[in-house]
Amino acid sequence: MSSPLLLRTLFHLAVLALVPPLLLGIVNRTKSIVGGRVGPPLLQPYRDLAKLLRKGAVYSRTTTWVFRAGPVVGLAAVATAGLLLAMGGAPAAISFTGDFVLFAYLLGLARFFTALAALDTGSPFEGMGAAREVTFASLAEPALFLCLLVLARATGTLSLSGMLGPSLPGAWTVAAPALLLAAIALFVIALAENARIPVDDPNTHLELTMIHEVMVLDHGGPDLAFILYGASLKLFLFGAILSRLALGGTGSEVAAELLFLLGLALFAIAVGAVESVMARFRMIRVPQLLVGASILSAFALVLLLR
Amino acid sequence: MLFVILAPLLCAAVAFGVPSNRRRPIALLAGALAHGGGVAALLRSAAPPARGDWLGLDALSTLTLLTTTTLFLAAAVYAQGYLSRRSDRDNRVFVGGLLVLLGAMTVVALSRHLGLTWVAMEAATLATAPLIYFNQNARSLEAAWKYLLIGSLGIALALLGTFFLALSGAAPGGPRSLLVDDLIAAGPSLSRPWVRAAFVFLLVGYGTKMGLAPLHSWKPDAYGEAPGLLGALLAGGLTNFAFLAIVRVFQVTRAAGEDAFARDALVGLGLFSIALAAVFVVGQKDFKRMLAYSSVEHMGILALGLGLGGVAAAGAFFHAMNNGLTKGVVFLSAGNIHRAFGSKTTDDVRGAARVLPISGPLFLAGFLAVTGSPPFAPFFSEFAILNGAFGEGRFLVGALLLAFLAVIFVGMGTTVLAVVQGDPPGNAAGVPLSRENWLMAAPPLVLMVLVLLLGLFLPQRLRDLFGAAAGLVGGGW
């Protein structure tokens, strides 16, 4: 790896480590602005994390090592997935043919352990949350794959770095409609995977209606911090993909990086906007939404295959 | 050669003479041993039959004799145990009848003369009828009566057919004889319509003895009511000889150039028998009747194999031997189960494997063998027959055969497993009406081992014999 590339990679790792909570900040800020409130400062998430990290944790007598493993594995898996992600047009730290499969399954690993941790509490509500999480996730999985396949087909490569790499702008010129469909589908998936409105309401207070939040009811202290950070990291990953996909412009490396960050910000704002203008769907509708996304992306793929 | 025929008859005479009920069965054993020895001696000094002999030993008769003498020896040993159990009954007729049966069957095997064959078959029929009545109750009587009437009807038709055959060669230049060799030699010069008619009458006649559907109706009754020992000898022995007789006739028919029709008739009758078994075996509560239908099925397979010709013919002769031995296993073990539970319906028979640690599992194994599961020998013979069907390009026949075999397997399986597995019903829990002793458990065991060995390793000599036998009807490996 040549030294400038190495530098870039290091820079990306730094971004990966530091930026995610900021996205949550942006989302919340957007919501409060649209809602006409002052709202929390942009950096509030960092404060929350710091506070949580300092706290001790309360554990239920029901729980076992699985409950403690949940947040740890969840965070680790998502972070590792980050290593596979190409940012700002530069290849990722690790990239190889079919690495996006690994990417998806790492997210799956995180989900698996979060759900187990939830079930470990023996609380009916957390069980409910876990059930919904795995259900919707398993419906989102094929949709995500289809979107990535569209990218792969359009760019003619089989690794994330290729799909989100320099060849992307060229792809837009030949396969714009397909890519657009894929982008929309990907955005829907991002909302679902990250438990945002209209699939889930991150700051509702009615456990019966929650998905992700209810799973982590019993976590506290560092565990909760890990979970929050992991969640933001996940949001960041999707945001990164979408930002590259949307603004995969050409130009100098610096420009690319700036565009990339800008894209992330826009993504966060978009999420916030959706959250402020839409209401949460009824549970029954969620699968329809996800299946819709899969069909959309499948259509996009077929556009390219025929 | 005469010794093999006379020895059993002599023993029969002795048996009728011996006063003591307990000592008489020894005669049976003696007859079986003498016969076995005689057959062995015959095989060593085997000379191909010469033109004009009334008795002769060719591949076909060798095979049938081998099977029978083995089976009969096993049955004789079994009888020692069985008859000692039934010392209440007078077994003079039983023992004598069995020996006469053996003698008659031997004649059929060796005879080169269709008239002689017919006489022997009739003698066998008549000798068997009283044996079926051994239990001397209304049911066994009815069975015997039906067997006798239907059997004699068949035999009468067979006689007429024999006459037709004789007539077909009665033209001034004709052989004017019933010696198989003469007729075959005369081959094309025989009058074909008469040969065809003869074949029909003989097929129906001997087919009745063989128990091909729809001529089988005596079978379930006779096998159901007769002692398992007799069932084994009928299903594994006598039916094979009826088949042998049909083969002889087929040889002539083929020589006369009528075999196209004959083949179709055989295939049709065979398939029908198998199909019928596939219907009647399903949900059959009475396991002895079930075995009877299984026997119908296997007769069908034999006819099918003969009709298909080629490899299938060799397979058929292989199957005849396997069927004989396997039937011995299932009928003898079924007999033991019947004795132990005092019933032969799945309503009151359960957990045989627990009550009879040898016969129960043997019955299961025998079922697997009889339904053609590898590695038992019948699998390989049925395999050969299927092979032949495909070889002749008769794919439909092959497919039908497989379908029927599958149904029969399921049908028999439900009954057999119901009998063998599970906990025995309260009354017979562990304490059977009669425990199995070695005299009654060993014979089927030995036969089972034989069947398995034949499956795992078929001696070249035997294989050649099957080939040669098939050669007589234009087939071969």
Binding site: - | G115, W118, A123, L141, F163, A197
Partner: protein, 215 residues
């Protein structure tokens, strides 16, 4: 001479039809005996130079003895022992069975016309007579209730076969014929025993009783 033979054959066929129609057991048995005797004459009537006299004589006497005398006596004794009622108790009525018999005769003639005799010198009526007698026997066996009647049917059947056998009597070795008679005799003998047992078990010879065995 040949007209006599013709007469004999026709008589045999007529007897067949009569048997199908007869309603009295005793009469039927007697008729069968007569038929047997009639058949016994045939070997002599059909005597050609191809036969040797002694052989034919043996056959005739044997037939007469067995078919004409011994067997009918046994039947009568069986009836007496089992004190059977004298009716035939048909399953198929007398008229229908007669008609069937007649059809059988017609078929027999048609059938035998399709089967060219390989040797011309034989009498043209022989095969049809044999076949229609066989047919009549089969009908009797199938369509009558009592066990005795079935035995009777068998006798007629065997008579038919015997007639056919005459076709070959010139070259068919004595032994087989002896076998035929012997087996016939034995068959009836065994059936008689079984009939005796049936009577003991069911106190009647009605085969209606013999239908317990089923699936």
């Amino acid at each position: 001479m040949s007209s006599l033979v013709e007469l004999a054959f026709i008589l045999v066929v007529v007897i067949d039809l009569f048997l199908l129609a007869s309603s009295r057991l005793g009469a039927a048995i007697r008729t069968v005996a007569i038929q047997g005797a009639l058949l016994a004459t045939l070997p002599l009537l059909l005597l050609t130079d191809a036969h040797d006299l002694g052989h034919a004589l043996v056959l005739a006497l044997g037939a007469l003895a067995v078919k004409g005398i011994v067997v009918p006596r046994m039947m009568f004794s069986a009836i007496r022992e089992a004190s059977i009622r004298r009716e035939m108790e048909p399953i198929v009525g007398f008229v229908p069975s007669m008609v069937l018999g007649a059809i059988g005769v017609a078929l027999a003639f048609a059938f035998s016309s399709r089967l060219p005799l390989p040797r011309g010198e034989m009498h043209p009526f022989l095969v049809p007579t044999a076949l229609s007698t066989v047919w009549a026997g089969l009908l009797l066996v199938v369509s009558r209730k009592k066990a005795v009647n079935q035995v009777l049917g068998f006798l007629v059947l065997e008579n038919g076969v015997f007639v056919f056998g005459l076709l070959l009597s010139d070259f068919m070795p004595l032994m087989v014929e002896a076998g035929v008679l012997l087996d016939l005799f034995a068959a009836v003998f065994v059936m008689g025993i079984v009939m005796f047992h049936i009577n003991r078990e069911f106190s009647s010879l009605d085969t209606e009783k013999l239908s317990a065995l089923r699936d």
